[in-house]
């Protein structure tokens, strides 16, 4: 069934189709309509899910940690300051190896106060042990939620599904919605290997001395290392059922392009048009969409950029003191490679400023004419 729905509605459909048993959330713009949609469905009795009202995002995640430890599939959604408020509990969820799925609607963090899109909220949480998947359109949002539960429940790590504020969250697009039967066939009911049983009480996440703590962290890294393969298997199965696939990265344009434009989130849609236009004008260029940020797809990127001389990275975020975070991760990932293309780190669109086709063209133009970037940070669309 195809419907014209917003990104936030696509999230709600994804949650419904995943038969989530516990939802706990606290409203924040631009996530609010997700929670509204779900709580209404639950209140009307159309969804057999427990909705836990809480007084903060910290509590929302704490409640899910309890629910997930109890062995049920659960969900929350947040944004910006709400995500920051959850920070402590994010570590807890991954440290306790709980397969929680959360949607974060990318929104800048204040001050100054701002409700529009950039990636500084989710990227601030990159070291919390969560898998992070960035979506380009509403269809991908819905599909990624279904996949996220499969991934999370396989590797026992929480997954954050990320979409841009307003550009996706509040914008309607046609979305193919799988039937419940199809969804159930793809995503079976969750069965925790560590169920809570009053007859056999267990302690969870209690104090662990230096003797063993280290090894638990090692195991989380090992689980992260399994993610690329698990993602691929999940996506193959998804493709066989729904004929849609996204990949950790997706390359489009000239296979042998020497210049690549790297994007994530909705900027990719703009990039697709710009890349197409420049190719038609005879420029040897390709685009690279990065969907999975954690674990960082170093291997997949390495393969996709073989032969490339220059990489233009569009970062809708800023790690003050360094620059764009995607560019930084990319530099680290490529350092061990023999051929290291020049990396042009563009920072653009902070606080929801539009990244227009013209700005992307400016970035391409700059990359084409310079053999090396003149500055570590290339400010795109900044009013000096």
């Amino acid at each position: 069934m195809k419907k014209v729905i917003t990104g936030n509605q696509a999230v709600a459909y994804g949650v419904i189709l995943s038969r989530v048993e516990v939802v706990s959330a606290y409203p924040i713009t631009p996530q609010t309509t997700i929670v509204e949609e779900l709580s209404e469905l639950i209140a009307n009795g159309r969804l057999q899910t427990r909705f836990l009202k809480v007084e903060s995002e910290h509590s929302a995640m704490a409640a899910l940690i309890g629910a997930s430890t109890g062995g049920v599939r659960c969900f929350t959604a947040t944004s910006s300051h709400g995500l920051a408020y959850m920070h402590e509990m994010l570590h807890w969820a991954s440290g306790a190896r709980l397969p929680i799925v959360m949607v974060n609607v990318n929104r800048a963090i204040g001050p100054p106060w701002n409700i529009w899109s950039d990636q500084s909220d989710s990227l601030s949480q990159r070291d919390t042990g969560w898998i992070q998947l960035y979506c380009e359109n509403n269809q991908e949002v819905l599909d990624t939620i279904l996949q996220a539960y499969r991934i999370a429940e396989t590797v026992r790590l929480p997954v954050m599904v990320v979409l841009d504020a307003f550009v996706l969250s509040h914008t309607s697009e046609p979305v193919e919605i799988p039937s419940m039967e199809e969804a159930e066939a793809f995503l079976p009911p969750y069965c925790s290997p560590y169920p809570l049983d009053p007859q056999e009480p267990k302690s969870f996440s209690v104090i662990t001395t230096p003797e063993y703590f280290f090894e638990f962290r090692y195991k989380i890294q090992k689980a992260m290392e399994e993610v690329p393969e698990v993602c691929q298997q999940v996506e193959e199965e998804f493709y066989s059922r729904f004929k849609r696939r996204y990949g950790a990265v997706e390359k489009y344009g000239d296979e042998q392009a020497e210049v690549l434009l790297l994007t994530s989130g909705t900027v990719t849609s703009t990039s697709r048009i710009v890349v197409k236009k420049w190719r038609e004008e005879g420029v040897n260029i390709a685009g690279l969409k990065i969907k999975r940020f954690r674990p960082f797809p170093a291997k997949e990127i390495g393969e996709a950029i073989k032969g490339a001389k220059k990489l233009a990275v569009i970062d809708r975020n800023l790690s003050a003191g360094v620059g764009g975070i995607f560019a930084q991760e990319l530099r680290a990932a490529l350092y061990s490679q023999e051929e290291r293309p020049a990396i042009f780190g563009f920072v653009s669109g902070l606080g929801g400023r539009d990244i227009t086709p013209e700005l992307l063209e400016e970035a391409i133009q700059y990359t084409l004419v310079h053999s090396q970037p003149k500055e570590e940070i290339l400010w795109l669309g900044l009013k000096r």
């Binding site: 969870f204 209690v206 662990t208």
Partner: protein, 581 residues
């Protein structure tokens, strides 16, 4: 007992941080710096009860809907719950911690409820008196005498009570009108006292048909003859015909004798006797006007009685003092002075001062003087001392004469039913010590409720049961997170128009549902009622249960002394002390 599990490395460890065995090898109790323990403390209601009732325990029995248990708890200390639930001035309620949140628990109504509930039950009371024990004579069958007799009988002593009137009960029967205390309630409770083996002989008056010589056969004597003599005003004319003494009047009314009363009856006094007289006068179809020399503030009568009297049409004139009574053709002409209030006197009340030349006259048809009662002293032997209008006794009721004890109104200026019952109980305990040659001071100290002066005979008999620290629980020591505001249940009363027609009881007993609701308001100050809050909160699962039964025990092998149980306990029943190092 399991052991710590050792891993060589990550490959042997579980995927998630989950316990694989038990931690009971790790005696975390060794970390404890402070130790919590259950210690019941004294609730302020218990501490202020002159009878020495275990109020919280009986109320908690009501909460458990164990009304028979509640009745038994009450009867441990008091043979008169039905009487006290009606006529006691309930100092327990004025001390109730609940009054700091909303309103005090209606303790008197609950006591009455339990007593009346028991009436419908087939109460099996077994005879307690044993032959061969020391025989005891009790003079007077009022609340002090019968309380003493009851407790002595429960200590298995054969007791004989001598009563000068044809019927037992003393002031309960002669002084308190039946609209406050129906005769059947009194008779029911006296019958229960008799059924455990107390022998009551009526129509026998000390100094008349009973002499001290006759009492030589008894090993000990308890005198509780009360205070029956009307205190004269000391003004001209009070000995005239048609001028009654308040208590005399009540005795006649309460024993059904006829009294010639005029239409308009003046009553002089401001105590409970005066109010009882005035309300009885109204019920006999006459007008009652009460004259009191101070103001409403200083009136010793209980406030509720006063307001009920006013509802029924009793008129009260304050700051009026009669100085002369004249009569003519049956009409009494009272010459009075107006008064004003001066400095506080030794009773803490402001002293009335006559206003010079304020003389005026009040005309009444009959006059009743109820200005207080005095004790009869004439028939006491040498060695007994009188001071300040009472017979002097030690704390345990002993007098200057060996083996002779005394109590009740005779020995106290606090002349209430509750004080009388308490004094009878104290004497019973003291006599037991006397016969067993035990130190009564020491026994009293152990049986004290809080700081005293009331004692618990239950504690005397069962020193290891329901132990209670003497600390009196303050409102600040309760955890108010657990209590919501809830209004106090009120007993219903007959409308004044109906009340004045006869001597039917004014107030009715709470229905069962409301009584249980009211009991549920009780904080159970300082007294563990098994709410299990500690069990729920203990992060170390160190509050013990066995087969779902809450044990009120702490597992010190694992209790780390965090103090959460102590902080969360709604009623201050857990104490925390520093561990000895």
């Amino acid at each position: 007992m399991s052991k710590p599990i050792q891993f060589k490395g990550a490959s042997e460890m579980p995927e998630i941080p989950i316990s694989l065995g038990f931690m009971d090898w790790n005696k975390t109790g060794a970390w404890r710096a402070q130790r919590p323990y259950y210690l019941d403390k004294t609730p302020p209601c218990n501490a202020s009860c002159p009878v020495g009732n275990d109020i919280v325990s009986f109320i908690q029995k009501i909460v458990e809907e164990d009304l028979d248990g509640a009745w038994r708890v009450l009867r441990e200390e008091n043979p008169f719950p039905g009487v006290c639930g009606r006529v006691c001035f309930h100092p327990c309620e004025s001390q109730c911690n609940r009054s700091f949140l909303d309103e005090p628990i209606a303790i008197h109504a609950l006591e009455r409820f339990v007593a009346d509930f028991s009436e419908g039950q087939d109460q099996k009371v077994k005879r307690e008196v044993e032959k061969g024990k020391e025989r005891i004579a009790i003079i007077g069958s009022g609340p002090a005498g019968l309380s003493c007799a009851y407790h002595l009988a429960r200590l298995h002593y054969p007791v004989t009570v001598f009563e000068s009137f044809p019927l037992p009960g003393g002031m309960l029967r002669m002084g308190i009108p039946s609209y406050r205390l129906p005769r059947e309630v009194l008779e029911r409770e006296i019958a229960l006292i008799e059924s455990i083996g107390v022998d009551i002989r009526t129509g026998i008056a000390l100094g008349q048909n009973l002499t001290w010589q006759d009492l030589k056969n008894y090993s000990a004597i308890f005198i509780a003859t009360g205070a029956h003599l009307g205190r004269p005003l000391g003004i001209p004319g009070e000995k005239r015909r048609g001028v009654f003494q308040g208590l005399e009047f009540l005795k006649r009314v309460n024993s059904g004798k006829k009294i010639e009363l005029g239409e308009k009856v003046g009553i002089i006094g401001g105590g409970n006797t005066a109010i009882d007289v005035a309300r009885s006068v109204i019920r006999l179809g006459k007008k009652a006007i009460l004259l009191y020399r101070r103001s409403k503030e200083e009136m010793p009568a209980f406030e509720e009685e006063v307001s009920e009297a006013l509802e029924e049409g009793v008129k009260i004139r304050y700051l009026v003092n009669p100085i002369r009574i004249r009569s003519k053709d049956g009409l009494k002409r009272l010459e009075c002075l107006r008064m004003k209030l001066g400095e506080k006197d030794e009773t803490g009340r402001r002293k009335p001062i006559p206003i010079p030349n304020s003389n005026f006259f009040i005309e009444v048809d009959s006059l009743i003087i109820a200005a207080g009662e005095e004790i009869e002293f004439s028939y006491f032997p040498k060695g007994m001392e009188r001071k300040g209008g009472i017979l002097l006794t030690q704390r345990d009721g002993s007098t200057g004469v060996k083996g002779v004890f005394a109590g009740g109104d005779l020995t106290s200026t606090q002349r209430t039913v509750a004080h009388a019952i308490g004094s009878g109980k104290k004497a019973a305990l003291a006599m037991d010590c006397y016969f067993k040659e035990k130190d009564s001071e020491e026994a009293f100290r152990r049986a004290l409720i809080g700081e005293g002066p009331s004692i618990s005979i239950f504690r005397y008999l069962h020193p290891d049961e329901r132990r209670m620290d003497s600390h009196i629980v303050r409102f600040e020591e309760l955890n108010l997170d657990y209590f919501e505001r809830a209004s106090r249940q009120k007993e219903t009363k007959l409308p004044p128009k109906v009340r004045v027609k006869d001597f039917r009881e004014v107030t009715s007993t709470l229905p069962s549902s409301l009584a249980i609701e009211e009991a549920g308001r009780c904080f159970s100050c300082g007294t563990c009622n098994g709410c299990e809050t500690c069990y729920v909160f203990c992060p170390d699962a160190s509050i013990l249960k066995r087969e779902e039964v809450f044990l009120r025990e702490i597992d010190y092998d694992f209790c780390k002394g965090c103090g959460i149980c102590f902080a969360e306990c709604p009623r201050g029943a857990i104490t925390l002390k520093e561990e000895a190092r």
